[in-house]
């Protein structure tokens, strides 16, 4: 090795070392991520089921059946609609809460470290544990929410928050139909993921130069004016980045909804549907086709976002 080096330029040596050091990563990502993704595309065009996995895996007869099955099945468009509502509202809520949380702990006070740590708990705690606590809190018989609601708030009967597709909400004598379970699942998602936005917005807030804010104060700008005109514009970059990240993750979300409702009561998002095709029906081909539809849709949405809503695509580079 040492002899070989002499013949090459320094740049060549460096390039070789770079590729050598990166090769374990590349191998892992190539074999466990890139090839599987490509393989999903192949499977999506095969009629592959769990029970004929042994015989049909390498039987490359391509068909569009999976896509017609998946796109034509009852409930597909509903699942798509639920996924979109869940991702858009969930993303907005989690970033909004994160922003508010970051603003209130921006300045030092006693106990700030503890407050900050407690605000991160929903995000670091295991998903299975927190979904179960929410399930029990919202349980009609045993849950504390319904106990408080019926004892103190005068609800006539307990509300099955996670099993009710549509509830009626009376406001000013108007009976409004509300998608109870979907709202609860979105609120849960805001609760669990706001810490992520909180963390990044807080880091950015604390790196902001104090001079601008001070200058605006001297010029007589009130706190709210300083927030809207000075602070918020400087947070635009990090909020745009968080919007993209949170949207991608919420759009692809599986665990939380599956554990909370199994996709029942009008909360079936596309990824839960993919899972049901895979394990419930053992239809691997259809599962692959639907997951491809999900991925393609996300790419289209992201393309639209970057093309029309964000003038500066550098935000993506900043990741």
């Amino acid at each position: 090795m040492r002899e070989g080096r002499r013949g090459r330029t320094l740049a060549q040596q460096e390039a070789r070392a770079g590729i050598a050091l990166l090769s374990p990563t590349l191998i892992v990502v190539l074999f466990m991520v890139v090839l599987p993704i490509l393989w999903t595309i192949v499977i999506a065009f095969q009629s592959l089921r769990l029970r004929n996995l042994r015989t049909r895996l390498f039987d490359f007869q391509f068909t569009l059946d999976n896509f017609t099955t998946v796109l034509g099945s009852p409930g597909f468009w509903d699942a798509l609609k639920v996924t979109l509502i869940y991702s858009v509202v969930g993303t907005a809520l989690s970033i909004g809460l994160g922003l508010i949380a970051a603003l209130v702990v921006r300045k030092p006070f006693r106990g700030r470290t503890l407050v900050r740590a407690s605000m991160l708990l929903p995000y670091v705690a295991p998903v299975v544990a927190v979904t179960f606590v929410w399930q029990i809190m919202l349980n009609p018989e045993l849950g504390i929410v319904n106990a408080v609601g019926t004892d103190l708030l005068g609800w006539k009967e307990p509300i099955p928050f996670l099993e009710q597709r549509t509830g009626t909400l009376s406001i000013f004598g108007l009976d409004l139909g509300v998608p109870t379970a979907l709202i609860v699942v979105i609120l849960y998602q805001a609760w669990r993921y706001f810490p992520f936005s909180f963390l990044f917005i807080l880091a950015r807030l604390q790196a902001l130069p104090a001079e601008l804010d001070e200058a605006a104060r001297v010029d007589g700008a009130t706190p709210l004016q300083r927030f809207w005109r000075i602070t918020l514009p400087q947070l635009q970059g990090v909020i745009a980045l968080l919007t993209v990240l949170r949207f991608i993750w919420t759009f692809n979300e599986f665990d939380d909804i599956y554990l909370l409702t199994q996709g029942g009561a009008g909360t079936e998002v596309v990824s839960v549907r993919v899972f049901n095709y895979l394990t419930g029906r053992g239809d691997i081909g259809a599962a692959a086709a639907l997951s491809l539809v999900l991925a393609l849709l996300l790419m289209v949405l992201l393309f639209v976002y970057f093309r029309f809503f964000v003038g500066r695509v550098e935000e993506a580079d900043a990741i």
């Binding site: 390039a15 050091l21 504390i144 106990a147 999900l294």
Partner: protein
């Protein structure tokens, strides 16, 4: 204000000498928008902080509270914020005891989760330290493309990736093994850890490494003796991050291990426990506490490190 001062300045001037007469009662500042907003926001701030603290902590408190109550007691008095008829650790005993002793065998699940998490940390670090160093320090063809490739991985839903891996592992017989699961976790986490470590390596001055290179140290020696010790904070933060992800993960554990009970992780064991009717909700909560406590202890012990490691580079926006 300043404008009216200028306009009427001449007319008011004669009155100026009267000002000292009012000195005993100090002039109260007018109730300006500045002061009103500051006061209201000052109050709102504390209300908001209280709201967030209660909203984030209460579910965890409730989890512990239910886990030490008897289920009959919960059914009688679901709204109690304090175990009204005494606490008992019976639920923990049931969860932790082995199946032969009539329990749920969580000790085995704890061991499995620990094994998977530690193995994921070790392998991920070994792979990503080398990769991150290469991306941060060395010029080579395809360096930028590789970074983009790693980010693109995150566009795809985990469930999409799960399908071919499920098929593949079923075919080669790795489904049900903890080794296969570690492999999946590593591949899922490596792109993020590369990014975290790369940012940190980029902040270490290159001069030290160059000096060592001039002294004739090879590349690997430089990494081991110089870059690694300097990057220790980032490496610690990355390890914790990987540990948490691997410990908490659910989807792949469910897909790969569900048929093989002795290899269940705590997350999977708990989710399967929830499916059976005869298991009381309080037992479920004891299981949840057991699943959560290691992560929370780890988190509080290392919070500062973890937060800095995760958001390093975020300050630039």
């Amino acid at each position: 204000m300043s404008r009216t001062g200028v306009d009427t300045g001449v007319a008011e001037r004669p009155q100026a000498p009267r000002a000292p007469a009012r000195r005993p009662s100090r002039p109260r500042p007018p109730l300006s928008r500045e002061i009103v907003e500051t006061r209201i926001l000052g109050v709102l701030k504390w209300i908001t902080i209280a709201f967030f603290v209660v909203a984030t902590l209460f579910p965890f408190y409730y989890m512990v509270e239910l886990s030490i109550r008897a289920i009959e007691d919960v059914a009688l008095d679901p709204g109690a914020l304090w175990p009204p008829r005494g606490a008992s650790l019976a639920a923990y005993g049931e969860v932790l005891r082995s199946v032969e002793d009539g329990g749920q065998g969580f000790l085995v699940f704890l061991r499995n989760s620990g094994l998977v998490a530690v193995a994921s940390v070790v392998v991920t670090l070994a792979v990503s330290i080398l990769g991150a160093y290469a991306i941060a320090r060395l010029q080579f063809f395809g360096r930028r493309q590789v970074s983009v490739l790693f980010l693109a991985v995150y566009l795809f839903p985990a469930i999409l990736l799960a399908i071919p891996l499920f098929v593949f592992f079923t075919r080669i017989g790795l489904r049900g093994s903890l080794f296969g699961l570690v492999l999946v976790y590593v591949s899922q986490i490596v792109p993020v850890t590369i990014y975290m470590l790369r940012n940190y390596f980029a902040t270490i001055p290159e001069g030290l490494e160059e000096a060592a290179a001039l002294d004739g140290a090879g590349r690997l020696t430089i990494i081991r003796k110089i870059s690694l010790p300097l990057a220790m904070p980032a490496i610690m933060a990355t390890s914790l991050f990987v540990f948490m992800i691997a410990w908490n993960e659910f989807l792949f554990a469910l897909l790969f291990l569900v048929e093989n009970r002795e290899n269940w992780t705590v997350s999977l064991g708990l989710s399967q426990l929830a499916g059976s009717v005869e298991v009381a909700k309080t037992t479920l909560m004891a299981g949840s506490v057991i699943l959560t406590v290691p992560i929370i202890v780890l988190f509080f012990a290392t919070e500062r490190l973890l937060v800095e490691g995760l958001t390093s580079g975020a300050e630039k926006g």
